[in-house]
Symmetry: C2
Subunit: 379 residues, 2 copies
């Protein structure tokens, strides 16, 4: 069966409808994004469809590239004539390539006047700056949100996930922005992980209230106030190691700090993996040891496999957009699709809207500035 | 042989004398600092003395606590009547406990008018905020340095070390401060690791010059200018993962970001170690695999053993002070002593002084503010 892309969504999000799951879920996919494009996105889509009988996909890409997907059930193919490359500046993605697969995919989650959106969520492995700028330009932010944020999950020692935001969309944040991130992160974790009242930690350089710079101290006050009003569940200050301890469900920080924490973790994990490999391949004896230890090492590798955590949410927009790592393989890209599916299915958009409204009605508004340093000028 | 602490240093640092090594090297040790105090510092000192025939120690602590060291060769015992605890606020360490082992140990590296200092370097595992504040108050900063910084090393994939600063002394930095960190870090690596012209990376959220917030962009300009004048070897922007790749010898960042990067790394390393242990102790088969893999795993563990990287330098003061991790065991504390010894032996103080003078003569001065948010008011 091929779904007509112009048909109305079978279930259109509307404010306040946060109970019950959405079904079917329709996801728009930028098939051209990332380092590998359709050679990994299409196999990932095929596998995803097989595992999710109530999912539908809107595949966007160059017509030639989409040919393998012709005739797939629960799929619509939408042509685009251009591709945003990983190196394209934001301006190019935003002003010149107006028929890019990225832009067309994002436009599928935009509701026009009186017209519901075609898809419930969009996934792209394209370059982050361009994706954020185009998504922000096309979809606009939710009322009460000054700046969208990027949220991802990292594994923790409790065998769960810690959701961290922002990861690079906002290099300078005010205390109010950090509060907004806390609210959006809470909605995300409640929706996707099904946790009621998830706890929020404020990333700092010590647990004590007096630690940190001025913005962090002010953010601490706002978060405590929001906690007292029952709007969020504020744990208090956390430190970098708490991300992996799983001290709080959510860790809030500005985009510069979050990006450094994420990249530092990636670097350390890669170094440790390299060291383990080097030690086990050093000589014939270590190679034999590797053979014996292989099942255990595989189990370990599985637990820390970053591909399982692929799929960062762009939060605060009037539409659900998920960003896959550019270097994702099919396994990783399918995980990004899963995350988008879970978020749409549990009506993340409505939840963010409701939670933001409730919070901002009782707290001072943000600075209403025009945007982040990275994408603001372009949008 | 017991050295008289009031005797002049056999070799007193003076500006410009950066060639040749210093010998003997005398180090003052705050034996009471850290979670375990003398039970780990004294065994570490004993082992250190055995390995360094030209080293002398000035052991500072409560008289009772120092009893085991009575009669040790190349050692002087200096009594102190108070101890700064790990929880003591900066104010207590600075204003009330004026005869603390920490303060007395630091005062050993302070040259009085016409009088050389007793020791060439000082090591303490005491609480960081107190140590920085007391050191800054007693020793003052080097001319041309607005704020001292904390520098440590992290292992990298090239089987070397990456030196990272600042790690928490300064939560808000200007571009000029970051330049000063670059210059001090270069002097440290040249002195301790013997690298001529070590490369400096500026920690950012992307390699491109246009990335980052305003302070980072300005710092990039200052660092490029210093590079063009041949004052430092500026590699350019680096990202969090570059710390462990070993892309540059030194990574410069503000204290908030550096602290988060360090703690995040500690957290991830601990989680991975826990996971490996859990997998290898899961059942009888995995335990057998662990037996076979043990030599390889030990080798791996050795390479990533954080105790080998213990000993952070407090840079920019008119005296060498090294900070050991509070939870250090004797093995780790001895490494901190080693680092202090190497720095003193290679005349780090003179090198910082010379390099700072050369740099600041040809570049705009810093903002000459009174200090960091953490310790400024107290000093």
């Amino acid at each position: 069966m091929t779904v007509n892309p112009s048909s109305a969504l079978s279930s259109q999000p509307s404010a306040g409808r946060t109970s019950g799951v959405l079904s079917p879920v329709r996801i728009a996919v930028d098939c051209m994004g990332g380092d590998h494009g359709p050679s990994i996105t299409l196999p990932a889509c095929q596998s995803f469809l097989a595992r999710h009988p109530d999912a539908e996909l809107v595949l966007v890409g160059l017509p030639d590239a989409l040919k393998p997907a012709e005739g797939w059930a629960r799929c619509t193919l939408v042509p685009a004539s251009e591709v945003v490359t990983m190196d394209d500046p934001v301006e190019v993605a935003l002003r010149r390539k107006k028929d890019s697969s990225m832009r067309v995919a994002i436009s599928q989650v935009k509701a026009a006047a009186g017209q519901p959106a075609v898809a419930h969520a969009c996934v792209s492995a394209g370059n982050t700056g361009a994706l954020m700028a185009v998504a922000r330009y096309l979809l606009k932010t939710v009322e009460g949100i000054d700046r969208p944020a990027i949220a991802t999950v990292m594994p923790n020692q409790k065998d769960g996930f810690t959701t961290v935001l922002d990861l690079g969309a906002n290099v300078d944040c005010s205390a109010e922005h950090l509060l907004q991130f806390a609210v959006m992160g809470s909605a995300l974790v409640a929706a996707v992980d099904g946790k009621d009242n998830p706890s929020v930690g404020l990333l700092n350089i010590g647990e004590e209230v007096i630690k940190g710079n001025e913005v962090i101290k002010q953010a601490g006050e706002l978060l405590r106030a929001a906690n007292e009003r029952g709007l969020i569940n504020f744990h208090g200050n956390v430190e970098g190691n708490d991300i992996f301890k799983g001290t709080s469900d959510i860790v809030v920080c500005d985009g510069f700090v979050g990006n450094v924490a994420l990249k530092t973790s990636e670097g350390l994990a890669m170094m440790m993996a390299t060291f383990i490999k080097q030690e086990f391949t050093r000589n014939i004896f270590t190679k034999l040891a590797a053979l014996v230890a292989m099942p255990v090492l595989s189990q370990f590798k599985k637990r820390v496999d970053h591909r399982r955590y692929n799929g960062a949410a762009l939060l605060g927009l009037r539409g659900l957009v998920f960003k896959s790592h550019g270097s994702a393989d099919a396994f990783a890209f399918e995980h990004a699709l899963n995350r988008a599916y879970d978020a749409a299915r549990h009506r993340l958009l409505d939840r963010v809207h409701d939670q933001i409204s409730a919070t901002l009605d009782s707290l001072p508004p943000g600075d209403q500035d025009s945007g982040s340093a990275d994408v603001g000028q372009a949008a």
